[in-house]
């Protein structure tokens, strides 16, 4: 495909070059006109003109061909959109209109195609695919069944391959024969199951081909597949009914009619006529029909014939119409009525599943906004799996074999044991026993796989679901009597999520801190400059105005810092921390390790008074929008806290020894779970020299 276009572009370039060369030749001809005769001049001119005309025509053609990809691309796009509309709408009128437009676009596309060679058309079809409309849902169902069986067979083949590898390894072992016997048995079972599933797959494939043919024929006839199917079934039902009639099986015919709820009474009557005709022709004994007689106040029991109530309503109809004449032609053609759908017979295969080789991937159920909580999230996490109680907790144990003497000994309780997990010097090994363990050792990583699937699902959860889990699930963890393997995974995921959230908030706090400290420095510089007595009034006014401009909006910044800090702390301390406590995932030994967090000071009431004053001033400034006041109080507070904190280094990490532990950024360090070093303090602002430069380079816009 690309070669074709490359050649085209080469040709275009060559045509352009020839045209340029012809121009030059023309100029040269005109210069040489004096030296040439008129005839020769005109002849050469004519030749040049012919060549230019020819080359121009070729150029135009080549350019058109080069432009066709763009045109076809637009056609494909529009057709694709129309096809999607066609598939989505249910209104038949709208579908007709869309179908007509699609056909129009197709004809335009084909006209554009005609200019291209066949190679280009083939490559286009490969790139863009066909534009056939598929509106049959049954085809989709069948294709899903196909996929299911193919997946099953594929998994069985993978197991087979693993077993064959083991068979190969068994030749290296001394006791490989016994191993191979077991493996061969398993292989037999697997082959049997594969054969079963392949049969069903073949049946489904046949179903698919039949259905696909039907859909194509329906499209060709410009009818929906349903209608086409009804027409086909009508013919098959007629054959079926005829066979039943011929076999004298009237009860089954009548029952068949009774099953069809959609048949109207008129059609039933008409069909009953046909049956009656057949009966008269074939002299079949009908069921005896006797009218019920109402006995009026007669003590003597009258002799009545046995009245068998007709089980079928058809007999009543036959009785009413016995006087009608008989027609001799009772053939297929005589049956004119259209019969509605009979109840469909399910052709789905019934098979015996010996083992469950695959995990049912049930679809993730989506709910509309504000319609679900943590229970739906967890049910979606665990869909198709059957988690066991010890999944995710420690390593799994299998194939336990214990000697009975030892069991009895343990139960008596007469002994206590030392578990020694350092191997002594071994002289002789139990080869036979170890090979037996190897025989039993099958790589059934069922629990691991379950946990991995849940992990992957947790990683793909949206933020909304994670928020719900963080808020709601921690309060309901104890309700579950299932083991805590699931909680371990949820906790891991939520830890990551909370750290991401807290990091974002911390960056915001950090930026705001830097902003405030820089503005404070700038304000101090401006005030110093304004105090200079040598300045004129205008200059002094400029400094004051600059100060005002810088301070705009700082009260809100202070407020946002306080709010962000509280938000992040809530996420960690009440959200994640309480979750981990509720789930009881790890035990924290707080003896010597917790010493780092011990509190050694008495309460300093003077310090507390000062802090309270600053707090009131800050809140008042925020409420009134006094930016300068908010900024100054904020910085006073920061100084007070930082001057009263001291951090000492220790073996197990840094330790706070002052009256206050102050850290602007939010970190989950108050919990003893995470024992790592705290971050260094925020760097507050730039140097003074830089602030002066900023001030001097500002645009001088301020006027009185």
């Amino acid at each position: 495909m690309e070669k074709y276009w490359k050649e085209l572009r080469k040709n275009v370039r060559s045509y352009k070059k020839t045209l340029e060369a012809n121009k030059i030749k023309r100029q040269m001809l005109e210069e040489m006109k004096k030296h040439l005769s008129e005839e020769e001049y005109l002849r050469q001119l004519a030749l040049l003109d012919e060549e230019t005309i020819r080359v121009n025509a070729l150029l135009v053609e080549a350019k058109d061909l080069l432009d066709t990809p763009k045109k076809t691309d637009t056609y494909f796009e529009t057709i694709g959109k129309l096809v999607n509309l066609y598939n989505e709408t249910d209104d038949p009128k709208y579908k007709k209109v869309i179908g007509e437009e699609i056909n129009n676009k197709r004809t335009e596309l084909l006209n554009a195609y005609k200019q291209l060679p066949e190679e280009a058309i083939e490559s286009y079809n490969n790139l863009y695919g066909s534009i056939e409309l598929v509106e049959d849902k049954e085809l989709d169902k069948i294709s899903k069944q196909q996929e299911m069986f193919e997946n099953i067979i594929r998994e069985y083949n993978e197991r087979k391959a693993a077993l064959l590898n083991k068979v190969g390894l068994s030749y290296e072992l001394s006791n490989g024969e016994t191993l191979r016997k077991e493996y061969n048995q398993e292989l037999k079972e697997i082959n049997e199951e594969i054969a079963i599933f392949e049969k069903y797959l073949n049946r489904i494939n046949d179903k698919y081909t039949v259905r696909a043919k039907l859909v194509k024929e329906a499209h060709a006839a410009k009818i929906t597949p349903k209608a086409y199917e009804a027409i086909i079934n009508q013919a098959s039902r007629e054959e079926e009914l005829n066979k039943l009639l011929i076999s004298h099986n009237m009860a089954s015919v009548a029952n068949r009619i009774k099953e069809v709820n959609t048949i109207s009474s008129e059609e039933k009557e008409k069909y009953a006529k046909k049956i009656k005709q057949y009966l008269r022709k074939r002299t079949v004994k009908a069921a005896p029909v006797v009218e019920k007689k109402v006995v009026e106040t007669k003590p003597v029991v009258e002799e009545k014939t046995v009245v068998e109530e007709p089980k079928v309503e058809v007999n009543k109809v036959i009785k009413e119409e016995l006087d009608e004449p008989v027609k001799d032609d009772f053939t297929k053609e005589a049956i004119e009525e259209k019969i509605d759908k009979l109840p469909e017979v399910n052709d789905e295969p019934v098979y015996k599943v010996i083992k469950k080789p695959y995990v049912k991937e049930e679809a993730y159920v989506e709910y509309p906004d504000d319609a679900y909580g943590y229970k739906t999230i967890i049910s979606n996490l665990v869909r198709g799996l059957e988690p066991k109680k010890y999944d995710g907790i420690g390593y799994q144990i299998e194939n336990i074999d214990i000697k009975e003497n030892f069991k009895e000994e343990v139960k008596t309780g007469n002994y206590l044991y030392n578990l020694v997990h350092v191997v002594p010097a071994i002289v002789k090994l139990p080869f036979v026993g170890m090979q037996k363990i190897a025989n039993k050792f099958l790589y059934r990583n069922s629990a691991k796989r379950r946990m991995q699937i849940i992990k992957d699902r947790l990683n793909n959860l949206p933020e909304r679901d994670l928020d719900i889990l963080l808020k709601e699930y921690k309060n309901h963890v104890e309700e579950e009597r299932y083991g805590t393997g699931l909680n371990v995974l949820i906790e891991e995921r939520l830890e990551k999520y909370t750290t991401e959230k807290v990091d974002k908030i911390n960056t915001r706090i950090e930026d705001n801190y830097k902003d405030l400290f820089r503005t404070m420095k700038k304000v101090n510089v401006a005030e110093e400059k304004a105090r200079d007595k040598s300045l004129s009034d205008d200059e002094r006014y400029e400094y004051i105005q600059y100060k005002k401009e810088i301070l705009k909006g700082k009260a809100k910044v202070v407020e946002s810092i306080r709010n962000d800090y509280n938000e992040a702390k809530d996420i960690l301390s009440s959200g994640m921390d309480s979750f981990s406590k509720a789930s009881k995932s790890e035990s924290v030994k707080n003896n010597y390790v917790g010493y780092r967090f011990s509190k050694e000071h008495n309460l300093d009431t003077d310090l507390l008074k000062r802090e309270a004053e600053l707090e009131r001033a800050e809140k008042a400034a925020i409420q009134t929008g006094n930016d300068e006041m908010a900024l100054r109080v904020f910085i006073e507070n920061e100084k007070l806290l930082s001057n009263n904190t001291t951090i000492k280094k220790g073996i197990l990490g840094n330790r706070s020894t002052g009256k206050k532990y102050y850290m602007p950024l939010v970190e989950e360090l108050e919990t003893p779970k995470k024992l790592y070093e705290r971050k260094s303090r925020v760097e507050y602002g730039n140097d003074v020299t830089e602030t002066v430069k900023d001030f001097e380079s500002r645009p001088k816009v301020y006027t009185r």
Binding site: I400, V427, M434
Partner: protein, 85 residues
Amino acid sequence: MEDEKIVIKKDGQEVECEVIFTFTSPDTGKGYIGYTDHTIAKNGRKNIYVSSFDPVLGTGKLEDLTDKREIEMVQRVFKMIKGSK
């Protein structure tokens, strides 16, 4: 379980140990053997040795348990034994 013995060297002498239990773990991919020489230590407790081996590579050698979770696994086996009837 067959009555196979493991012979270890203890204080320069060869001592026969009886195999008490075996199990496998799909998470580690190893098999585990517990065996004892029925001797009692200074603390009055019976010694039980637990070692691991790799079944895929063959009957090579026995190895120590280094992972905490492996040791927890053995402790769980003991709990199971106590709880079984």
